[in-house]
Symmetry: C4
Subunit: 213 residues, 4 copies
């Protein structure tokens, strides 16, 4: 018998109806990290230090703005997927909370990688770090999804996530991993791979899910 708060044991599984505040704290904390990470992206844009530099500094911000837009879209996408995934969950346990923290550690790194990409988008090392960050986030998210389904934390009948979000995230993570050696040869090609997977990923994954259904 699992009662809210009585989970001294790591194995205890709690239902969101029994432990409403506790379940919603997990998503609230996650939302906090997503919201802060996405809003800190603005700190990557540079304020010129004097009026003489104004036009030249602002004129060179197209890379920064590209990084801002890309990272906002990526964190936004992570958040939408997280929202969808937790919408399919009915229960949580201690290990899920730790897997979620592991995932959030990658999400919270994005403002750093994004700043690097905005400033040094033509340097292979910056592109590789950005791709590694995204691959880390995608793969730890997949692990979290796989764990939740194996442990039976999802609501009955919610099978779309397993069939769909899991594979979609492995594909996403795989493309980011693949783009890392590509960046050594051509940083532009690596970034084009990301945009491509971003533009087509949604549709491809939906098709996959429909074929499976």
């Amino acid at each position: 018998m699992a009662e809210p708060g009585g989970h001294a044991d790591d194995a205890a599984v709690l239902h969101r109806d029994e432990a409403g505040i506790e379940f919603s704290r997990i998503v609230a904390f996650s939302d906090g990290v997503f919201a802060i990470a996405i809003t800190l992206l603005v700190l990557t844009l540079q304020i010129p230090s004097d009026a003489a530099d104004l036009d030249s500094v602002l004129g060179k911000q197209h890379d920064d703005l590209f990084a801002y837009a890309l990272s906002f879209a990526v964190i936004g996408k992570f958040w939408v997927s997280h929202h969808r995934f937790y919408g399919a969950l009915d229960r949580f346990d201690n290990r899920l909370m730790w897997l979620n923290l592991l995932y959030l550690a990658w999400v919270a790194l994005v403002p750093f990688s994004s700043d690097l990409l905005g400033n040094y988008g033509e340097e292979p090392v910056a592109v590789i770090i950005y791709a590694a960050n995204m691959a880390g986030a995608s793969l730890t998210f997949s692990i979290q999804i796989a764990y939740a389904y194996r442990r039976g934390l999802a609501r009955d009948g919610a099978t779309e996530q397993r069939r769909y979000a899991g594979p979609a995230n492995y594909i996403l993570g795989g493309v980011f991993l693949l783009s890392m050696p590509v960046a050594l040869v051509n940083t532009f090609a690596a970034q084009a791979m990301w945009l491509l997977v971003f533009a087509t990923g949604r549709r491809a994954a939906d098709r996959l899910a429909r074929i499976g259904a």
Copy 2:
């Protein structure tokens, strides 16, 4: 049949009573972005680097304080409108979440534009960027409202938003767009336009709504 969490399909529409945590996550995430953006404005105020500069640096902060007050009021207004708009919604779908993210990307930019305006309020380029940021926020908010009504996401009988908030935001966005060429001629006149629409906008929109009712 739409069940919470079962929305693998983009077209799925969920009701806030079916998917309470999911609905409230959207507003919680939005509130997080609003709260962070509004609190990051304080970072635009400068701390003098040594005591000799204290009076001179603080004495020149009136522009920064004007930008802080203006941007706090503007983000506050955006938040109140967002609060009002989501109060009129009963349902959400995936596309609304993305339109909301697109809108929040403009809101999260405000600390940057505001810092620019506080430091370079007399330079046309800073005023134009600030106006473009506000126009972007107003117009993407209008799009979100229009979409929600077209898709029937609002609660029955909640027509004020459509008749009132939509047009009010187009007017707001239009004034910001208009102020951009004005800033090329006179930055002070452009900023006066913003204050004017801010001071009268509320009342004008209320009158519009009452005429329509």
Copy 3:
């Protein structure tokens, strides 16, 4: 007839049971601002730029740590009072939301004033700015409380707030205002006044409330 979300009119008053998500968004947004402002205080502590300065920079941080502790306690106190005040409310309207935003604009300024105080605690201008910030917060909070009671937004029988929190905040604001001219003569005496009101304020106000009851 007031329905949630149907408040196009400024005069509309909504009850927290009718508009649960809307009521809780106001406190959630406020909590966000409080939490961010209190956590941004840490940015006022300085990281030495090289190991040679390590001991000397850290050794001179007692002023910064005093400012951190004081400001954490002050924002904490503001938050506890806000929590208590909204706990006594049953209803809200548009004007209360704006008065709350006006109050939060002062709360969000604290990291700036606190940084100034930590660096220049012996300069009258820094002490005066800190005191002005606190006086602004206290007085706008009093206005918010007075408005809510006059408009009948409090729950029936919740009279402690009116009899107690209102006057307590005027006293607090008054002491901060008084400390401003004192700072011109002696910055230490001004800061001692704050600590005194902080240490005794709670008890004095409780006594007041009990006399009134």
Copy 4:
């Protein structure tokens, strides 16, 4: 008779079912501080100032990345414990809110100590400050737990927290205190102590709890 919001008296104890929004504001505010502190850790990573430094600066970030990972895990652990503790509570009073704020003041300091540790991990003073920060957080958390049980704020039958979390936190705090003199002799040994208690702490505490049960 305690009614929500009627708690002018410090001694008033409120139940989470009576004062739902008020109870959840405490955890929401705490979650906000945790989420912000954990996300601010990213600001401790350095962006090289020009492309020539790119490899050398990034190559020297292993200390920063160690500090990021350690501090993310530590704040994550604090959050999981806080989540578990508040899950066992049914009631709160004014003093608990202040003890919680005292605890959060230590949590919010972590980005500072972590930045120091990342930059000066071989200097005893940086290691000592980090350990002091963690000891302060652990011990004030223990005090909060002890207070809640003595005042009867926990739900009936929730005894695991008392038997388990309290002692576990004293052990954690004690190890951090002990590591402070060790750091004077060997900073590496001090950090190894932390990792050891982190890796074994969970299991040791669970064993303790099971023996007690």
